[in-house]
């Protein structure tokens, strides 16, 4: 490998993490008053903002309307200042459209859409700073926003990426590790039931190693779950204290 050593002999990665360690996660719910639900999350240097509107009446063409469940409408975008080089098109390019579809698939699996026939749920996610694991950060942000909006879900959806470098599976890849071009895998998991909402892999990986990488990714997802659950509980605790008397009634 030219120059950059992604995994040192002592087993440390470029940013000083161990192989299975996550980046620091900080999150906040209810950041906007206007939206039904909103959340902000930082995973290391990757920062994302998610807002949820709905369920509400279908806007735009009526033909999208489903009579037995609600439509989940997602939009993924990256701020023009989020990457090293300034982006020309914040959304609407090929990569963003693909990401939009992935998000839609993930949340259609998790939200109990059959409870809201003929309606629409909008999930808008924006990456404010991109440092690897964009999809995963977006899923985590959107999960918090959906919970904040009070929309029923089967379970949290937690996502994490994993890679495979020098015979070791690495959890939660950063931009440098992604750019090295090794195999990478993005996994969105419903952690309580161990169901997979989305699984995507780039480049080649030997079949024998797949299981180990999957295990690393799902372990990482469960670690993410622990952090997100903590955030939600603190938020809930704070709100119930403020609301005070009514909850006792």
């Amino acid at each position: 490998m030219a120059g950059l050593e992604l995994l040192s002999d002592q087993g440390y990665r470029v940013d000083g993490r161990k192989a299975g360690e996550l980046r620091k996660i900080r999150a906040r719910m209810g950041v906007f008053a206007q939206a039904d639900g909103s959340a902000y999350i930082e995973q290391g240097n990757t920062k994302a903002l998610a807002v949820v509107y709905g369920p509400h009446e279908i806007r735009g063409s009526r033909s999208k309307m489903l009579h037995d469940r609600s439509v989940v409408n997602c939009q993924y975008s990256m701020a023009t200042f989020s990457t090293g080089e300034r982006k020309r098109r914040p959304h609407g390019d090929r990569k963003s459209s693909e990401m939009t579809l992935h998000l839609k698939q993930t949340f259609e699996a998790a939200i109990l859409t059959q409870l809201y026939p003929r309606s629409q749920i909008d999930i808008y996610v924006q990456i404010l700073q991109a440092d690897g694991g964009n999809y995963c950060t977006c899923v985590n942000a959107a999960t918090l926003a959906v919970i904040d909006a009070g929309i029923p879900m089967r379970d949290y959806v937690c996502a994490s990426s994993a890679g495979f470098i020098e015979d070791t599976p690495l959890a939660d890849l950063s931009y440098v590790e992604e750019a090295a071009g090794g195999p990478q895998l993005a996994l969105a998991l419903l952690p309580k039931s161990d169901q997979i909402a989305l699984l995507e892999m780039n480049s080649r990986l030997h079949e024998d190693h797949l299981e180990r990488v999957m295990d690393a990714a799902s372990k990482a997802c469960k670690d993410v779950y622990a952090v997100l659950d903590q955030v939600v509980r603190e938020h809930l605790q704070e709100l119930t204290t403020l609301l005070g008397d009514r909850t006792a009634a």
């Binding site: 008053a33 369920p55 003929r118 909006a149 009070g150 089967r154 949290y156 952690p191 119930t240 204290t241």
Partner: protein, 293 residues
Amino acid sequence: MAVEVRLPAAQKRVSEELGTGSGLHLVTPGDTITTDTGFMRGHGTYTEDDKLVASVAGVVERVNKLICVRALKARYNGEVGDIVVGRITEVQQKRWKVDTNSRLDSVLILSAVNLPGGELRRRSAKDELAMRDYLQEGDLISAEVQAVYSDGALSLHTRSLKYGKLGQGVLVRVSPSLIKRRKTHFHNLPCGASIILANNGFIWLCATPKEMEEEAGGFITNLEPVALSDREVISRLRNCILALASQKMLLYDTSVLYCYEASLAHQIKELLKVEVIEDIVMETRQRLLEQEG
């Protein structure tokens, strides 16, 4: 020109001030509430292999055998008899579509409104054509929920002189869960303004009308200029309501009035500052607690 510079103060954690919540059962999506099969499944839950699992983050409520989870923030869930304020989004055949912050747009059927010229008037084809003269897209109305359809949509009516089109005033939107259910949601406050605290979280503020206009069925709006003093009262009330809502205080006539009185020490524009908001809301909270005994 004087420039005011303020530093962003870290918001105090309220739970430290008020003490932590008392033994409430809080759950997050995916949490198992009970594995006992003797319970009934309510809102905010679902069953999975004989387990009752929460689907929203909130507080568990048990009524006999029924278990529900109440989310702390959600869209408006209408009930028959609720007062709502809404905005017309569409004019259709014999009905208006109204946005009431609900899951689906509510409907206001032509036969459920008071048309000019008395209670008992037949709705003719002419009325149908003139629907846009009564209410058009973007108009605000107050109404009562008449029925809830099976898909959760609401049917409204305005068959009383209390309800109808809203003219000049200010609309404030808050979370529906902050509105306290009272016997009446229309108030003429002693400070000289009228307020409609609608159950769907839309709050309408306007100057108290001098005399009730009749015959019009509430479709004619008064376009006389509103006096500056009235506008100041309305602005102050608006800021007070936003202050109460930002601190998640329940909204009803007494709390709004107490907050208004607490705010009189400050200028209207100062009521948007975080420190002032904390002050006046704390004062209101104290006064309400004292009054409760």
